[in-house]
């Protein structure tokens, strides 16, 4: 059944080509996109089932010997994040089809939204399935280049300015990553992860640490870990609502996934434990303080996105099956919850024409449905029981307490404080947007009472958009019910990841066939 492994990538690339040809026929484009993304969801679900029941699935593209050819592996970790991501991409595509105005109105010569979106999905799939570092780099480049186009779609001033920051930072991180790949190859003579796991252990510790640092910096930028996270809240809010939603759900988590792979599979997790703990702490605290300071709903949500990356870094830094399992569970929860929040913000903006906390008010009376759709994922994010955010945080705290070292205890305290501050941030946003104030009038004491493009004359969101948002909200709420099975899959994923020997057995036969420089 290993033929299924490259299927998500193939489907997306094929869909990308077909939608490009169908540039003048928006309806056909939508049909192709939705079909392809549904196919990717199905393939990912089967892959996850296979990975759980039969162990990791492996394929070497083109029949080249392993080590020379391009290897793709779907173990439990890959398949789990792949399934979550493909669900999110499908939901967001439904949302943007409902919105119906993402550049596919025929006014542009070639409608690029659908092809670019599918290329982005292909890049995400490649990155999750890649079995060697260089292929991971290619996956990153595919998704990043697509994201440049999606972010600057339409070319308005705000998006071009935000895009300039985003593109430059991403290019810098890619160059650091490529440098890392070159250095790893120079040191070990291979880039296949299965091979690297053994050979890096044989390197002098100083060299191994240097390699690990270079790669961590590259992935840290992509994952928006604190000192390297400044680009995210400056760029995501400028994007169109569905684009911001899919970025928030997927792109940073691809970085987190890469950190899990590299930090825990290839290198000794204990070497840089303290550094990663410090980064996790700073990401948690600085991110959430930034969220509290915001007066714009989108920027507030973007800062909570950065902050909660810290939880996953905490789990990764703990190392060990419990920590990594908690991080993986948290990543799945975080993909869904952030996408849900960004989609709801999109609904609010669609209705009112603004996301400013000072201008919005009283939406609960106007659109009770949107209010509920905001409240559920927001409480989930803050970690109120019995939502999945609570389960994820609980798993992290238990792993941290079981670890018992002082740095783990510091992070446990920081995680709880961040959870409370998240609750404060979302309560503040909730009361400003949904409860207080008069409809369509600015609420701040120093604000002139000037009517904005108000809720009353805004167009209610289309039913499809609401349905897509509801779908993601239901999925993330249902995670609480599936918490037990999901956590056991996550533990299996962590064991897959940590057990380099097992990984090596699956990918197998790399050493004897690999090209020795």
């Amino acid at each position: 059944m290993s033929v299924l492994v490259p299927l998500p990538v193939l489907l997306c690339l094929l869909g990308c080509a077909v939608t490009l040809v169908l540039g003048q026929r928006p309806r056909a484009q939508r049909a192709v996109s939705l079909t392809v993304l549904t196919g990717v969801v199905a393939a990912s679900a089967v892959l996850l089932a296979l990975a759980v029941t039969e162990g990791p699935q492996h394929v070497t593209v083109g029949g080249w010997p392993a080590g020379v050819g391009i290897g793709l592996v779907a173990d439990r970790l890959s398949a789990l994040v792949l399934l979550t991501s493909s669900l999110v991409t499908l939901a967001v595509m439904v949302f943007s089809v409902g919105q119906g105005r993402t550049g596919d109105t025929g006014s542009s010569p070639v409608s690029i939204y659908h092809p670019t979106y599918l290329a982005l999905t292909a890049g995400v799939c490649i990155a999750f399935l890649a079995a060697d570092l260089f292929n991971l780099y290619v996956g990153f480049e595919v998704l990043l280049t697509s994201s440049y186009v999606l972010l600057t779609l339409g070319g308005t001033g705000a998006r071009i300015r935000a895009g300039a920051t985003y593109v430059v930072v991403s290019l810098a991180s890619s160059l650091v990553f490529l440098t890392g790949v070159g250095l790893v190859y120079a040191a070990t003579g291979t880039v296949a992860m299965a091979d690297l796991a053994g050979r890096i252990g044989a390197l002098p510790p100083a060299v191994a640490t240097a390699l690990q640092l270079v790669l961590l910096v590259a992935f840290g930028i992509k994952a928006a870990a604190f000192p390297l996270s400044g680009w995210l809240p400056d760029s995501y809010p400028a994007a169109a609502a569905p684009v911001a939603a899919v970025f928030a759900g997927l792109l940073t988590k691809v970085g987190v996934y890469a950190i899990v792979r590299v930090h825990d599979l290839l290198f000794d997790p204990q070497t840089l434990r303290l550094l990663l703990m410090a980064v996790a702490l700073a990401t948690l605290v600085v991110g959430i303080l930034g969220a509290i300071a915001q007066h714009d709903l989108r920027r507030m949500v973007s800062f909570t996105l950065v902050s909660h990356i810290g939880y996953m870094l905490f789990g990764i830094a703990l190392g060990g099956a419990a920590g990594v399992a908690a991080a993986v569970f948290y990543a799945v929860h975080h993909i869904l919850v952030q996408t849900a929040l960004f989609l709801v913000v999109g609904l609010v903006e669609h209705r009112t024409g603004t996301t400013s906390l000072r201008r919005l008010g009283g939406l609960a009376a106007l659109t009770p449905g949107t209010a509920v759709l905001f409240l559920l994922p927001a409480l989930n994010l803050a970690g109120i029981p019995p939502f999945s955010g609570f389960l994820g945080k609980l798993a992290l705290l238990r792993a941290g307490i079981a670890d018992g070292r002082w740095d783990a205890w510091v992070l446990v305290v920081a995680a709880v404080v961040t959870s409370l501050l998240t609750l404060y941030a979302i309560a503040r946003a909730w009361s400003a947007v949904f409860w207080s104030g008069r409809l369509g009038f600015a609420d701040g004491p120093d604000e002139p009472r000037e009517p904005v493009h108000g809720p009353t004359d805004g167009e209610p969101p289309r039913r499809t958009m609401v349905a897509a948002t509801t779908g993601v909200v239901v999925a993330v709420t249902a995670l609480s019910l599936a918490g037990g099975p999901l956590l056991s899959i996550a533990e299996g994923a962590a064991r897959d990841t940590l057990d380099a020997q097992r990984y090596l057995r699956v990918v197998g036969g790399v050493d004897d066939a690999g090209a020795e420089p």
């Binding site: 109105t105 001033g157 400056d234 809010p237 714009d296 604000e447």
Partner: protein, 148 residues
């Protein structure tokens, strides 16, 4: 592995020039910096390949025989570099288009301090500065209106 001084020096020089250009405020200079720096990194990949040698094409008409395959150049990093060059090409094209667009919008392709800082201040000053936050939201709205 036998790193040569010339290659290493070239890598160092190109990356240094690239980093210097990357720190510029002009987006076109940043794009040039990316080009120079990625050339440096590509050379690093070549240097990682080890000593030069005949092409690793085996068999009749090939550059090397089966037995002295060890003398052939390592083909894998060459494949990496080819891929990286193609990626850099695409990204450079996009970067140039972006800096052109920025130049049209701003009369110069200068990347100012992040917009949101100004936006936050604009927010703090309320509706008195509609050209920032308000214009951003309206611009986004107009774009979503598909009136491009």
């Amino acid at each position: 592995m036998s790193p040569t001084v010339v290659l290493t020096a070239a890598v160092a020089g190109l990356v240094a020039v690239g980093v210097y250009l990357l720190t510029s405020r002009h987006l076109s200079r940043v794009v040039l910096g990316v080009v120079v720096m990625s050339n440096g990194v590509n050379l690093l990949l070549i240097a990682a390949a080890g000593p030069a040698g005949p092409a690793a094409i085996v068999g009749p008409g090939g550059a090397v025989d089966e037995e002295d395959l060890a003398s052939a150049a390592d083909p894998l990093p060459q494949a990496f570099v080819l891929t990286a060059i193609v990626i850099t090409f695409a990204v450079t094209a996009f970067g140039l288009a972006l800096s052109y667009r920025l130049g049209r919008l701003e009369d110069d392709d200068v990347v100012h301090d992040a917009g949101p800082h100004r936006r936050t201040r604009g927010e703090a000053a309320g509706a008195a500065a509609p050209e920032d936050g308000g214009a951003t939201a309206r611009g986004a709205q107009r774009e979503r209106g598909g009136s491009r």
